[in-house]
């Protein structure tokens, strides 16, 4: 049974991740008074991109072509490490939380390289912004995970999340709340959502993540978008793992609660995007440093 669950979790992520994007769009549409696109539209988009041809600029190298695949591979590998709610992940070992963080790092590294590879001034700007902001998001994530690790006494994601049950919330509620908030900010920043970035903008000068993939097309773009959906799923799972302490031991119940929470998170993102404007780019670091401060505070609370 446990083996099946371990195997099912990543599969669930692979299939359900684009659904979150659909839910976010639908929420935003409702707030804007529109009917919105079908909830399954992201799947259609991916399918459409996979059937298209690809255009490569003559001045790009193998890095430009490798980038999307490396990103997708990193995302799938990370998916194997992250537990679904309290359920153990497919692979878990001591210190896998660092591997998780740096799989995201590797992915970002290649995204930045492939953006620089095009020698476009836009993509260069996007790369520079991405690097600055993720350099600030990364400590917030790592310190947040360290808080959870310190509290549960484990350094493997599966064990940490198994330990974050209702009792944990009763003893260290404030610390977990702070960590969860920090992770939420990281989640918004890493997934280029409002208030840090605007995934729907067409204004190349204001983009952060989107501008780095302007030159990609067809299946390559499909890979990137799919990997981005997986990232939404991965970081969302971290957030839900902390904030929703449903660890009844009943696999079906826990799984259902986690899945519903994920959809709830998508709705929450939609609400955030519908109710506030983007930050001025200059103020994004301040926001992210706020996330770091929250994680540090949480860490201090559990170390007390």
């Amino acid at each position: 049974m446990e083996a099946v669950v371990k195997f099912l979790n990543p599969l669930l992520g692979l299939f359900m991740a684009p659904l979150l994007l659909g839910v976010i769009s639908r929420t935003k549409a409702v707030f804007a008074g529109r009917n919105g696109q079908p909830i399954l539209q992201p799947y259609h988009d991916l399918w459409k991109l996979l059937r298209k041809g690809v255009v490569y600029s003559r001045c790009t190298s193998w890095i430009f072509r490798a980038g999307p695949l490396v990103g997708l591979a990193a995302a799938v590998a990370a998916l194997l490490l992250v537990p679904f709610g309290g359920q153990p992940a497919a692979i878990s070992f001591e210190g896998d939380l660092l591997v998780f963080a740096y799989l995201l790092g590797l992915w970002r590294f290649f995204t930045v390289l492939m953006a620089l590879d095009t020698a476009s001034s836009f993509e260069g700007m996007g790369a520079s912004r991405e690097v600055i902001f993720s350099a600030l998001a990364e400590p917030a994530l790592l310190i947040g995970l360290a808080t959870a690790a310190k509290f549960t006494g484990h350094v493997s994601l599966s064990q940490i999340f198994a330990g974050l049950n209702t009792d944990a919330w009763l003893t260290a509620g404030p610390a977990l709340l702070l960590t969860g908030t920090a992770i939420l900010i990281v989640f918004l920043a890493e997934n280029s959502r409002i208030p840090i970035d605007d995934p729907n903008t067409h204004l190349e000068l204001t983009m952060i993540h989107e501008v780095m993939i302007l030159d990609h097309s067809g299946p390559d773009l499909g890979c990137i978008l799919y990997a981005a959906a997986l990232k939404l799923w991965l970081l969302g799972m971290l957030f839900i793992g902390i904030m929703v302490p449903c660890r009844s031991g009943n696999v079906l119940l826990d799984g259902a609660v986690t899945m519903l929470s994920m959809l709830g998170l998508a709705v929450l993102v939609g609400i955030i995007e519908s109710s506030m404007a983007r930050l001025r780019l200059l103020h994004v670091p301040v926001f992210l440093i706020g996330a770091i401060a929250l994680s540090v505070l949480a860490l201090m609370l559990v170390m007390r």
Binding site: P195, E204, L205, T206, A277, R280
Partner: protein, 507 residues
């Protein structure tokens, strides 16, 4: 108070060509420089040939405080001392003169083509380009900043969004913009030249498509001009309907603009609702004349469609609903801190720069300058119904957005007023032929700002020269200045807050 060396001219009142003082070029130059230093503004500066190929420079000066207009002229040779070094707001006009007529303003600091078209005088060119040499738009020298840490970003002419073509060059230090240079001309069609020899059947459609979103503004300016030159009386009812159409155009564009500003900062509610409400206002224009942009509504002599009383009831019924909608949608902007944080202090201009560059319309009023043709140089219905000038003091994106909101409110009140008490009478009268040898100025406050049409008739009573100054022509430089020391990521926001026309500039 009359200005020395000039003659006072009134909006929509023709002047005999012979009455315009012809000055020595040095006196011409000094008069303009002194007038601008004393707070006046160059509304138009252009060169016009006579039938025997002599060239005259004409300048139209506007004194917004006094509500006076002055004209002066000078005969010029193929070169003349440039005004620009002493009067920056002449710079684009002088480049235009050089491009069109190969009349070179000497010691112009940055003499480059404006619209990248061959000159109008065969065999002569201000840049000594050969006849028949292909001229590519925006292939020219750009201002560059050099240094290890400087990078150049070129945007356009093809943009990611659906906007008109224009080329923008940023000199950046990191995210900081040191300088922005804007180069346009992709949409040059040669309208001014095509109008010469008119008015004929084609003239009105040209005016309707000068800038697609300002159809009412430009056709009103043109119609006023033709009516004045022909001394055709128009009925008060027609003028009221023109006023209603002009304010509807302002409402639609201001609402759309505020929505687009919200969209640029990712604030969805206002973006979505204003997009729809803009369409609602356009549909009201369609209710009046069958076309959302008001094409075919206004023509010399009056308007082509009357408003029956059931129509006005339907109109007002819908209008009250849209008034509520737009109020709710726009008030959200001022009540959302994250929106204000983006708007405030972004792309700020000082009144000083505004005056030096001769900006008009919303950007000028957002700096606290009280200028509005409806108030300073009223024509048509605005002679009888005044609209207060809306200003704000901070000069930033917020000010430009807020002035547009103030204007929305005033336009709404104006339309309700006019619709409720439309004068009786016919809506159209037959036009008469134009009087020969006259110069006439027609100013209309379009939604972007001052629209200036100047027509000169020859001895046959047809247009010998026609000059159009769209507000965008004045204001593009303002956008470039507003971007200095701003974040490059704020450019779309600043650009949208100016909301300028590409084809209105390119003509």
């Amino acid at each position: 108070m009359p200005l020395a060396n000039t003659i006072t001219i009134f909006n929509c009142r023709p002047l005999e060509i012979g009455q315009i003082p012809v000055l020595d070029i040095a006196v011409f130059r000094n008069t303009i420089i002194d007038a601008v230093a004393n707070g006046q503004r160059i509304a138009a500066l252009f060169a016009a040939p006579t039938h025997d190929q002599r060239f005259f420079l004409y300048a139209l000066l506007a004194d917004d405080n006094a509500g006076e207009l002055y004209v002066l002229s000078a005969e010029t040779a193929d070169t003349y001392p440039a005004l620009t070094p002493d009067c920056p707001q002449a710079h684009l006009f002088e480049r235009e003169i050089a491009e069109q007529w190969a009349i070179k303003p000497l010691s112009h600091p940055w003499l480059k083509p404006v619209r990248f078209h061959p000159g109008y005088r065969p065999g002569r060119d201000a840049w000594n380009r050969k006849a028949g040499e292909s001229i590519l738009p925006c292939v020219t020298d750009f201002y560059t900043v050099v240094g290890e840490e400087i990078h150049e970003v070129a945007v356009g002419p093809v943009h990611a969004g659906i906007i008109e073509p224009g080329h923008f060059r940023f000199q950046c230090h990191g995210e900081n913009v040191l300088h922005l240079e804007i180069s346009l001309g992709y949409q040059h069609r040669g309208v001014e030249r095509a109008v010469c020899g008119g008015p004929n059947k084609r003239t009105l459609p040209y005016m309707q498509t000068l800038a697609g979103d300002t159809t009412i503004g430009h056709t009103t300016a043109y119609s006023h001009l033709v009516e004045s030159l022909g001394q055709t009386p128009t009925s008060p009812r027609a003028e009221s309907l023109r006023g209603i159409a002009l304010e509807l155009e302002r409402l639609a564009n201001h609402t759309g603009g505020l929505g687009a500003l919200a969209g640029d900062i990712g604030y969805l509610p206002t973006a979505s609702f204003c997009g729809r409400i803009r369409g609602d206002f356009l549909n009201l224009t369609a209710l009046l004349c069958g076309n959302r942009f008001g094409r075919g509504l206004i023509q010399p002599g009056g308007v082509r469609f009357d408003v029956t009383s059931p129509l006005s009831i339907t109109f007002l019924d819908r209008f009250y609903r849209f008034q509520k909608d737009v109020t709710v949608a726009v008030e959200l902007l001022w009540n959302t801190p994250s929106v204000l944080a983006r708007f405030e202090e972004a792309g700020a201009l000082t009144p000083q720069i505004c005056r030096e560059l001769g900006l008009v319309g919303v950007p000028a009023r957002a700096c606290g300058l009280e200028m509005d043709c409806r108030y300073n140089f009223p024509a048509g219905v605005y002679r009888f119904s005044h609209i207060p000038v809306s200003t704000w003091h901070s000069g930033d994106v917020f000010a430009r957005a807020y002035v547009r909101w103030l204007e929305i409110q005033k336009s709404i009140a104006f339309i309700i007023d006019q619709m409720n008490m439309l004068p009786e009478g016919p809506v159209i009268t037959a036009t008469k032929p134009l009087i020969p040898n006259r110069l006439c100025v027609s100013l209309v406050e379009g939604w972007r700002g001052e629209i200036c049409h100047i027509g000169i008739t020859d001895s046959q009573g047809i247009f010998r020269h026609y000059k159009i100054v769209d507000p965008s022509f004045h204001n593009w430089t303002g956008l470039a200045m507003a971007l200095r020391n701003q974040q490059i990521s704020d450019f779309p926001l600043c650009n949208k807050s100016f909301d300028l026309s590409y084809c209105g500039h390119d003509l």
